[in-house]
Amino acid sequence: MKHLYSLLFSLLLLLAGHGSYGQQQQPAKTITGNFEQVPFRQFVRELEIQTDYRFYFEAGTPPDSFRVSVRVSEQPLKRVLEQVFDGTPYRFALTNDYRVFLTTGTSIEPQLSTTFFRPTGSPPEGPVVAAPEDLTPTTAPGRSRYVSAAEYKVYQIGTGNGTGLVTLAGHIKDIKSGEPVIGATIYSEAPSIGTNTDQFGFYSLTLPAGRYTLQVRSVGSKNTRRQVILRGNGRLEIEVEEDITTLREVVIEGEKDKNVSSTQMGLEKLDIKTIKQVPTAFGEADILRVILTLPGVKSVGEGSTGLNVRGGATDQNLILFNDMTVYNPSHLFGFFSAFNPDMLQGVELYKSAMPAKYGGRLSSVLDITTREGNKKQFGATGGIGPLTSRLTLEGPIIKDRSSFLIGGRASYSDWLLRQLDDKKFRQSSAAFSDLSAHISHQINDQNSVYATGYFSTDRFKLASDTTYRYANKSASLKWRHNFSNQLYGVLTGAFSQYDYDITSENNDVNSSRLQYAINQTSLRADFSYYPNPKHSVDFGASSLLYNVSPGGLTPLNENSLVLPNVLAREQALESAVYVSDKIDVNQRLSVSVGLRYSLYNALGPRSVYEYAAGESRSESTIIDTVRYGSGKVLATYHGPEYRVSARYSLSDNSSVKLSYNRTRQYISQLTNTASVSPADTWKLADNNIRPQIGDQVSAGYYRNFKSNTIETSVEVYYKSLRDFVDYKGGAVLLLNPTIETDIINAEGKAYGVEVLVRKLTGKMNGWLSYTYSRSLVRANVGTPADQINDGRYYPSNFDKPHDVTLVGNYRFSRRFSTSLNFTYSTGRPITLPIAKYLVGNTLRVLYSDRNAYRVPDYLRADLALNIEGGHKAQKLAHSSWTVGVYNLTGRQNPYSIYFKSENGQIRGYKLSIFGRPIPTITYNFKF
């Protein structure tokens, strides 16, 4: 307690300091009067009437017996008080916002009553309409040791006369590392105006001039606040403390009441700490696997990181890693995601109401951001798990201005396979690694540059003569310029490449290599403009050049008879301009409108087939081949993409939101397998393959309980998809020069309800979600050969109507916590055999209509125990252990159901990938 009071006192001294010069800014009102033995309180009331000042003092200081006798005429307050208190132990301080603080001597008396500092009298007139505040500081429990003096300082911003609107801008950074804090919320409670920091930690807040207490909350940091008096435009750099403990409570507070108050809907945000708490099969924090626990996100089965967001296909997600597109986000058949958890800051998943800035994919945007690296000191983090190890280094290049962050991860599964007795395994190999690096440099207050590089590679061979290898390579360079507090721009150049090859070398005659590659080069300029508190405007333009090598089969040596078969390269240019404005119409209603216009040109050189109209496309219905020269446009598609959303607050803790958005996608993934496979290819839209178009309408109701510690929401959506690709039975997708003959432009619809309850604080926290959703496909155009199930709607591969997920965390102490993860979902649809028949000496299987049946339901529970090392913040190294059991009940969830004809008999088999409880242990460290 003593500690607290001395803080209070230093606050007073600070205020007094300000008062000494702040007074000169306006001609002060003077005092005239003849006071004879007036009780001090009465005297104060008189002074408050004659001036704009308010007095703050404790009852009894000075005591009621203290009476004032003074005669003054047109004297300033300061002079008057000097006269009054001359020869008494009482001291006063005047502030420039017309406050008078009275104290005794130089120290504060031990018994302060609750009325201490209670404002008396009426607020002063004038342009300042800040609400009267309770100045008694309330410190959050458990943080007094770290409390920052900055919270109690009152910052003067600008030098204006304090009328009209002013803009406050700056960065929110981590106090220890100097890294920007992304997605932090900074807001004033009354009036309720707030904003978020962007990916650079930058914020811009426009408020009426006046005095405010700005609350700063962010994911993974301690909450803080700043007291400001806004007189004109200015900057305020804010440093926040990292929250060292892994308590979910702080994590979620960043989102506190945002759920209700933001116009954004269908957005899921996860920070790396949340991600690290969820148990996984191989002990390593896995970003995609945690994403899969969120409502509305599904995959066809475990071991697959292909995401199906709200009934969309796996290729309809824009996966961005620091603004670089990642085409294959998984390692080792999808058991691992290809991102090093130590590098990451967090992840945002937009399921609906996609910001106009993003485009090019129908269903979702998954925005993964890395940290920026410690700008103050060097550090290392890492982990050792049963299959992989990782190490991340970071530190300043120029202290406080530039930093680097570099992280690598590698598997030793190759080595492990060789230790096994089974020859099959010894002939197998499975290895992967990834490396990412990030450099940021602040040139000056106006300019910063950022560079990111990413490389991931996989190679595997399963007791066969065929080796699979694939790699992602990406790089981006970003320059950010602040034009003013209200306007800044970011120029981003990025390059991404995904390629794979499949090498077969068993037999000289057939030895060959199949290769595929796609790369994209993009340039974009994005601007954010905050003209006034009611508007925040984003606008920009982007252009993206695709270059695809759709496949090539080449002989490996001169004995090979394999004919080189290399499909012609494809090129296309996708450009877009966008503008969006978020308008706060009033306290209750907030609307965000955006328009994106995208233009797509498929470019030559290329030969394109023309098919006879009205017939099923096949090689025999080709009527012409048209050759386009280099750079010639062979097909153009364009159209607007609308992005509209609105929020209406019903009360302080409940709101309804609506959104509508249209998206266009000019590139499709060709995959004929149930899960995403590394041999899938991406195909650009052209004369014969139309781009996909999606529309989504969603509505939601949000309500928080118990002072925003429990969030609930219900969102419903309806989505229609046009021209997404489906395949004729037995389609050949690789090395097919007439791929359009095997593709059907199908239409789809998806709808669902997502219910989410999150408990945010306390020893027990986590979330429970239930989703009911359907995803249906129809292929009913063209000839009967092009139709599936006679042109009726049928469930898509990832139509799983019911889904319940519980992610829970219970903290026994600061060092021990347990996490429980429970997932149930309806089995995915499957095409089942319905009869058998005899052909070619063997019983064969007749299959049902496509996806007419379902595999058994999916049910899994995982448990993990996190043991933290000691919690001394200044310790050299922090370490933690994660001990977990994946699939606690050992349920054999089907990954695949298939039927085989063996020795003339038809048998069904169920393949479970994780059919038993899998214990794991991982050691993590941080210097």
Partner: protein, 399 residues
């Protein structure tokens, strides 16, 4: 106690092998009563008799083979040419005379079922199959691979399908000296065997896998060492002498696609990256517009070429193990006729003999003599004694 190394392996087995190894049988609860669809199996032989088998689909749970479709009338129709009728030999099997159809001519199969429904396959061009160039075998990695090579210098064949029929000798381990003759409902007697069981049999079976190869991606129409069969060392087929007859067919692209789809559906589904099943629709359709029922099967038109290869045990690597296929039949059982030990006999020797051998499913082999009369017989189930349960005692013509 477990050593750290075995512990490590155990841990690895948990972490690593599970993803690969967890496959268990699965029987879906509800498969609705399937429709009974007509199935057409066979092709129009361009140089020889055509054999077509008609049957109906059966439910997956059915234990019987799918029912044959009898009393249908089948005819090969050659466009602008004569028709060739087929006659039913056994139930559901229809055979034509040995016809010769010119390459490139179009023909189809027309079916009229016993209930009067009419179906026909699409007209397909007749293809002539090139001869098999070589059929050889090589031992590699403890396995005998049977490899076929072929070429078509005209480049017209391109799509190939193979079937094989394999035959091998089997030698039963026992040569019984006695047999049991059943006289009435409860009596019989043991005697010296009258007609000895055969000491050598031959057993055969046909390929069940769909063997396909195409050369469209090669600069020449040539198939080198396509593996049609692989036999692991120590398999009973290789015990003494083995023979394989490989039949080669050149297909059209459409027929190849049909077989490939069929293979994908019924042989390949299930590894991580295999395609989804799809309905394999053949080229047989109903001729009446109002009958939309599906017909399964693809009727192509081509000739067949064949080649035979023998493998003797002596030709195999000398260190390879050997098995007869009768390993489970050793050692023989013993049937005691009298009392063993202190228990009083529960049945007379005649009763014991009758109970053991009257069914003829269990055969006596030799008497175990004790002084003057037999007190026991060695015996084994018929399958271990009579090799005709596994094949035929008639020497094949090509052997």
């Amino acid at each position: 106690m477990k050593t750290p190394a075995t512990f490590l392996r155990g841990l690895l087995a948990i972490v690593l092998l599970l993803p690969i190894g967890c496959v268990e049988p699965y029987a879906p609860d509800v498969i609705d009563a399937p429709p009974s669809l007509l199935v057409v199996d066979g092709f129009i032989n361009a140089a020889g008799p055509t054999t077509i088998r008609l049957s109906r689909t059966a439910s997956l749970a059915a234990t019987i083979t799918p029912p044959p479709e009898a009393r249908a009338r089948l005819v090969i129709e050659q466009q602008n040419g004569p028709n060739y009728p087929l006659t039913e030999t056994t139930l559901g099997t229809y055979v034509s005379a040995a016809n010769v159809l010119p390459a490139g001519s179009l023909c189809r199969l027309r079916i009229t079922t016993g209930t009067g429904k009419e179906y026909a396959s699409d007209f397909v061009p007749v293809k002539l199959t090139p001869p098999i160039e070589t059929l050889r075998w090589t031992p590699a990695n403890n396995q005998v691979n049977v490899l076929v090579s072929t070429r078509d210098d005209t480049g017209a064949s391109q799509y190939y399908r193979w079937e094989y029929e394999q035959t091998w000798e089997i030698t039963p381990p026992y040569r019984p000296s006695v047999e049991y003759v059943k006289l009435g409902s409860d009596t019989g007697f043991m005697r010296r065997i009258a007609i000895p069981y055969p000491t050598l049999c031959w057993t055969s079976n046909k390929s069940t896998r769909i063997l396909l190869s195409q050369t469209t991606a090669l600069s020449q129409d040539i198939v080198v060492d396509f593996r049609v069969q692989g036999l692991s060392a120590g398999s009973p087929e290789l015990n003494t002498r083995y023979s394989i007859l490989v039949r080669q067919q050149a297909l059209t692209a459409a027929e190849y696609t049909y077989w490939e789809q069929l293979r994908k559906n019924t042989e390949n589904i299930g590894s991580l990256f295999d395609p989804q099943p799809s309905q394999s629709v053949g080229n047989v359709r109903s001729l009446s517009a109002d009958d939309a029922s599906l017909v399964l099967g693809f009727v192509g038109a081509h000739s067949v070429t064949e080649k035979r290869q023998f493998i003797s045990y002596e030709e195999l690597p000398s260190n390879w193990s050997r098995s007869t296929g009768y390993e489970a039949c050793l050692p023989p059982d013993t049937v005691f006729l009298g009392s063993r030990g202190l228990d009083p006999p529960s049945a007379t020797p005649a009763q014991i003999q009758f109970l053991a051998f009257a069914s003829q499913l269990y055969l006596p082999i030799d008497a175990i003599p004790n002084l003057s009369s037999a007190v026991a017989f060695t015996a084994k189930k018929r399958d271990c004694v009579d090799c005709r349960t596994r094949g035929t005692a008639v020497r094949p013509s090509f052997w």
